[in-house]
């Protein structure tokens, strides 16, 4: 092994330890994996699959969230590898919101047109408006189209532990995360443990690991995307420059994504700016 291979083998081994610990704590049938088709969750899934192959365990069920406003390339990538890797995959979507929006992005969604659960969710996050635009990555849209779908999946399958592809360096606010994060049950959220096997990877580590192990990735990263979210709010960071050749150390990874920016703008407005 070269030095480089050795370094990434070490990072992957740390992830494997976390995954094996999870299999020790939970029955395979109580576990699930979140997969977005993005680089982090695909790496997580790939390592879990490795552990399962090495230890002769069935790969836990996999969930992926269809936020409606998504890239075809990601759909294709997920479907292709779900088949190739023989995964028990479930596509999850908040159909009630899609219906209320008439299936049109940016359409006005009247709160009273939503079902009871979605209305209760809006109340929980303190949304008091009568309507909101149907966008996957606005504050309200993100909650209904992602958070709620996630919680409902956990609830429906009685999931006790769920793997996620979060990294410590990816978002500032996650700096304190631990590999196992217990979420206590609260209003509309079932109790579960979030397991984050690649928490210690940096964005650079992720791409180097892809290279060392020849792990498949979605083609959008070759076109210059660094971070993939909803289609209409993800931007190419540098056109034509593959993600791994970009200045990962100095330019914020999620700078092309809108959700965080929305959140920041919302805070600034509340403080009296803008």
């Amino acid at each position: 092994m070269t030095d480089k291979e050795e370094r990434y083998a070490e990072l992957v081994n740390k992830s494997k330890e976390v995954i094996r610990e999870a299999f020790k704590q939970f029955k395979t049938s109580d576990l699930a994996i979140t997969w977005t088709g993005g680089k982090d969750s695909t790496l997580t899934l790939w390592i879990i699959r490795r552990v399962c192959q090495e230890d002769g365990i069935k790969v836990p069920k996999v969930m992926t969230i269809d936020e409606y406003d998504s890239f075809e390339e990601i759909h294709d990538f997920i479907n292709r590898y779900a088949k190739e890797w023989n995964l028990d995959l479930e596509w999850c979507r908040n159909d009630d919101v899609v219906r209320a929006a008439g299936g049109k992005l940016n359409a006005r969604v009247e709160v009273r047109d939503l079902n009871e659960r979605n209305q209760a969710e809006l109340k929980r996050i303190g949304f008091k408006g009568e309507a909101f635009p149907f966008e996957a990555e606005s504050y309200v849209g993100n909650h209904l189209m992602k958070t709620v779908v996630f919680n409902m999946y956990v609830e429906r399958h009685n999931v006790k532990g769920i793997f996620q592809g979060l990294r410590r360096d990816e978002q500032a606010a996650r700096a304190q995360d631990d590999y196992f994060e217990k979420k206590e049950a609260s209003d509309l959220i079932p109790e579960h443990v979030r397991i984050k096997p690649i928490l210690h990877f940096t964005e650079r580590d992720v791409w180097n690991t892809y290279q060392v192990y020849k792990i498949p990735y979605c083609i959008l990263y070759e076109q210059g995307y660094r971070s993939l979210g909803a289609k209409s709010t993800s931007a190419i960071a540098q056109p034509g420059v593959p993600a791994w050749e970009q200045d990962l150390e100095h330019i914020a990874e999620r700078a092309g994504r809108r959700q965080d920016k929305e959140q920041m703008m919302d805070r600034l407005r509340k403080l009296g700016y803008m």
Binding site: I125, G126, Q171, A172, A173, R174, A175, Q176, H250, I251, A252, R254, A255, D260, K261, Q263, M264, R267, L268, K270, L271, G272, Y273, M274
Partner: protein
């Protein structure tokens, strides 16, 4: 000293602290620390709002150094960078969106909490000081597990004084029980008077100031709580604590409210205290100092080599500090989203004389702060020193023209 802590308080006016003014009773805890502090009586901020002042506090530089500001320029050295490189554990806890990770302020911290994923209420649109303390306390107890813990640099920032000035009843009762407003009424005062910068009704302006004062009292209690956390974990005796604010707040001293692009004392004067646990006699430093001096001071306290790109000088040891003039700069943030760099304003102060220049209007002001501390009497046309001071400020005006829009230096 083993550790250094930087405690910054958003929008805290210098004259709100009793140790700096005749105003009584809002900051009794901070005042009680004076015996262990060096108090800087003439500290200036590099700008009148967060975006303009934090380049001073955390990068020892000025706001418009690298062209149109869009978050933290990669060219700047953030204080966390040399510290982390030297093996010091760096941790940040704050709730100011202008300093969030998305804007690049998360560089080189071992722990960086900016609260941007948390939900907040419009009446208190940030994570409160109490919760910041809890997070800091949790982190500290986990870090300081045994005696051989690595030295740390901790930065924490309280937002609670910042508008919308909707304090809890409990603190209203402590400070000014005759304020007879519900939280909804306080919030409408913010929306209808403060947001509109409407100073036509002196009673409403006075009421805003009273609510502001209540918030100051509240933050004093968070500072007290923070010190007792440090004492409980037994790190207080090993930590130097720098306490300051990023800027002040205006209550119609110069025709406005809040903190816009102005360079007057109510916004630019800041409190600055350096608490040293081994000190037993307070010391006062009357030199003119700037918040750009804070990062070099932190570097000095850790015994590290000075950082070449830092523009300031270490405040410690006091005897070695060479007093110089201080600068500040800002742009109009209100007329367009992201700020209008074509409406820029600068100041330079030397001894008691201060010049202010508004570039888009080509207008100069000058004040003698000794005779006219409230900056009401413009002496630019009569002062014999006007020319000299103008010449010192002029080279700094529109430096941003040297930078292109994408943050590269023009050829």
């Amino acid at each position: 000293m083993k550790n250094v802590i930087l405690l910054t308080i958003d929008a805290l006016r210098k004259d709100a602290l009793s140790c700096y003014s005749s105003r009584k009773g809002l900051t009794s805890f901070i005042d009680s620390l004076q015996d262990k502090c060096i108090k800087f009586t003439r500290a200036q901020s590099t700008g009148p709002y967060t975006q303009a002042s934090f380049p001073g506090i955390l990068t020892s530089g000025h706001y418009l150094e690298y062209g149109k500001p869009k978050g933290l320029s990669p060219q700047r050295t953030l204080i966390s960078e040399p510290l982390k490189q030297a093996g010091i554990v760096t941790a940040a806890f704050h709730s100011n969106p202008y300093l969030c990770g998305l804007l690049g302020w998360n560089r080189s911290w071992n722990i960086f909490y900016d609260s941007m994923e948390d939900e907040v209420d419009p009446k208190t649109p940030y994570i409160r000081g109490r919760a910041i303390n809890t997070k800091v306390g949790e982190w500290l107890s986990s870090h300081v597990g045994d005696k051989n813990y690595q030295p740390f640099f901790l930065w924490l920032h309280y937002m609670d004084i910042h508008e919308p000035y909707v304090p809890e009843r409990k603190y209203v009762e402590m400070v000014d029980p005759s304020i007879n407003l519900s939280q909804d009424e306080m919030y409408s005062l913010f929306q209808n008077t403060l947001l509109r910068r409407d100073v036509s009704d002196p009673e409403k302006v006075a009421l805003l100031r009273r609510l502001y004062n209540v918030r100051v009292r509240e933050v004093d209690s968070y500072v007290q709580e923070f010190f007792s956390i440090l004492a409980d974990i037994d790190v207080l005796k090993d930590s130097v604590i720098i306490i300051t604010s990023d800027h002040g707040d205006e209550f119609n001293e110069h025709g406005g409210l809040s903190h816009d692009d102005k360079m007057y004392c109510e916004l630019i004067n800041i409190p600055l205290l350096i608490y040293h646990p081994k000190r037993n006699k307070g010391e006062v430093c009357d030199s003119l100092v700037s918040n750009i001096d804070i990062p070099p001071t932190i570097i000095h306290l850790f015994g590290l080599e000075p950082v070449a790109s830092f523009e300031g000088c270490s405040l410690i040891p006091l005897n070695d500090y060479l007093e110089r003039g201080v600068f500040g700069e800002a742009i109009d943030q209100r007329s367009q989203r992201g700020g209008d760099i074509n409406k820029d304003i600068y100041f330079y102060q030397e001894n008691d004389l201060k010049v202010i220049y508004r570039a888009n209007l080509d207008s100069w002001e000058m004040y003698d702060l000794n005779e006219d501390p409230r900056e009401l009497n413009n002496i630019i046309n009569s002062s014999p020193e006007a020319k000299e001071l103008k010449n010192k400020l002029k080279p700094r005006v529109r430096r941003w023209l040297r930078w292109s829009n994408n943050g590269r230096k023009n050829k």
